[in-house]
């Protein structure tokens, strides 16, 4: 009964590749550029080039494609569903007809484009989270957000909230599994019954989960206080982020490619 075995989307796989070692800021920005591009382009060649770019990133990162696909597995149905919707629901030149369904040329193209868009989007974000530890990810985000300090953006606080949230996701999942097992042992049944009963069945999970989460939040707050935490003001970092030449190079290449692909396609 390993309920959460399949959740791997966003999991960090430690490694020592070129991609792993890029500055997180550069990786985040590069990721953003590719995503923006994905929604700008409208030609097949654009998708192909972006796809090849991201895939070569995965190859360079030496991450086993199994992990990438495991992340995709949960989302593949969503992609297929949107693709089918587009396939059948777009008006235009009919090229194929089954019973009351008709497939149009425009629908086919739209469907394929949407699917490629989502597919590459997931690949890109997977590549980011697979190769960047949560700590450096939030570090990078904090630094990026701190460029917006002049509009009073609480960069440190946002980053700290993200760090804590990321830190507690596995803990909460583990705890949910434990509570479920305990309630099953007490006679609860989470597998059968109609929707009303199933919803009611969540109470024995949610109440203890929330009680524990609040208690934990309280303890964490006290522990942080005891360690002298008082927000981001004047706080230094154990590991200072540094932009190296390779980061600048990487960023230049990505930007150049993004602009070319964006303009051409």
């Amino acid at each position: 009964m390993n309920i959460f075995r399949n959740i791997s989307f966003g999991q960090y796989i430690p490694g020592n590749s070129l991609i792993h070692n890029f500055d997180p800021r550069v990786k985040i920005l590069g990721c953003l550029l590719i995503i923006i591009n994905l929604f700008l382009i409208s030609q097949f060649w654009g998708f192909l080039i972006l796809g090849v770019m991201v895939w070569s990133g995965i190859i360079i990162s030496k991450i086993h494609p199994r992990f990438v696909f495991r992340g995709l597995r949960t989302i593949i149905y969503l992609i297929l569903f949107t693709m089918l919707l587009h396939l059948f629901m777009t008006e235009g030149e009919v090229i194929f007809r089954i019973w009351i369904f008709k497939i149009t040329k425009e629908g086919l193209i739209n469907g394929l484009f949407i699917a490629s868009r989502l597919f590459i989007l997931i690949l890109t974000t997977s590549l980011l989270t697979l190769t960047t530890s949560p700590i450096s990810l939030t570090d990078g985000i904090e630094r990026l957000l701190s460029y917006f300090k002049f509009i009073k953006l609480p960069a440190h606080e946002i980053a700290m909230m993200m760090t804590i949230a990321l830190r507690f996701i596995p803990t909460l999942l583990e705890e949910t599994e434990k509570i479920m097992k305990a309630q099953i042992s007490r006679g609860a049944d989470f597998e059968s019954g109609n929707i009303v009963n199933r919803t009611k069945n969540l109470i024995p999970i949610l109440v203890p989960l929330f009680v524990n989460a609040f208690r934990r939040a309280d303890e964490l707050a006290i522990a942080m206080e005891a360690k002298g935490y008082r927000g981001g003001e004047g706080r230094t970092h154990y590991r200072e982020l540094q932009i190296h030449r390779k980061d600048i190079l990487f960023f230049t290449i990505i930007t150049a490619l993004a602009i070319i692909v964006g303009i051409l396609f």
Binding site: M1, K181, S185, G187, V211
Partner: protein, 290 residues
Amino acid sequence: MFIRLENVNYTYNLNMPFETVALNNINLEIEKGEFIGLIGHTGCGKTTLIQHLNGLLTPTSGKVYIEGIDICQKGVNLKLIRQKIGLVFQYPENQLFEENIFEEIAFGPRKLGLTEEEIKKRVYEVLEMVDLDVSYTERSPFSLSGGEMRRIAIASILSLKPQMLVLDEPTANLDPQGRSKILSEIKNIHDHYGITILLVSHNMEKIAEMVERLLVMNKGKIILDGSPREIFSRHAEQLIDIGLGLPQVTQCFYELKKRGKSIKEGVLTVEEAEREVLKKIKALANNLQK
């Protein structure tokens, strides 16, 4: 035979880079009415093992039989198995969720579809089993002390009328008084109501004098299985080797023996030790008189 485990293996995260072998070829038979202790280092697989007894985990390979039925087959009524074998998790106070204690204990019986009358009867019955007053039924489970919460959690399993009770470190994080209270209740549940007990514990002292049979696990294997006396006398060395150690009195006598004193091995309780020491002193005094 009540429970039989045959060559049970279990691996967490099978076929992934971070897979952990938690159980390694476990063979175990349990009869009705036994009172068994299970000890072992942290991370040796105790919790994993007991989750196999009521089908919460299915072995990666091997078989689990409950009353002759292979519970890993498709179509086995696991609900019935889980009612027969009550599993009390570690820190069971973290599962309480109802408004009052009556409802908390009635949760299981209600799921069994009993009448209100029967449910009431069961709740009062099990409250007595864990030695709590009837007046508790009105209180919120969150208003209790840690030890009381734990007893309520045990009661909520007992209300399913299990034939066997499996407890995962029921005394963890309790003060000495709360600890003895829970343990004496467990003993009472066994002696008085004839419920088979499997008790996972780190507390060697208590377990040594309570249980009739002791299982010792190390790195996913059951390495010793026998009466506490036998294990603590004959296998003392092995226990020390794997870093589990012995109960304090046993350890003391073991050291004396090692220093060449002719003294009994496998002494389990302080009372027993006292008797032994007095016997020795008397013998010594007699010798002197002569």
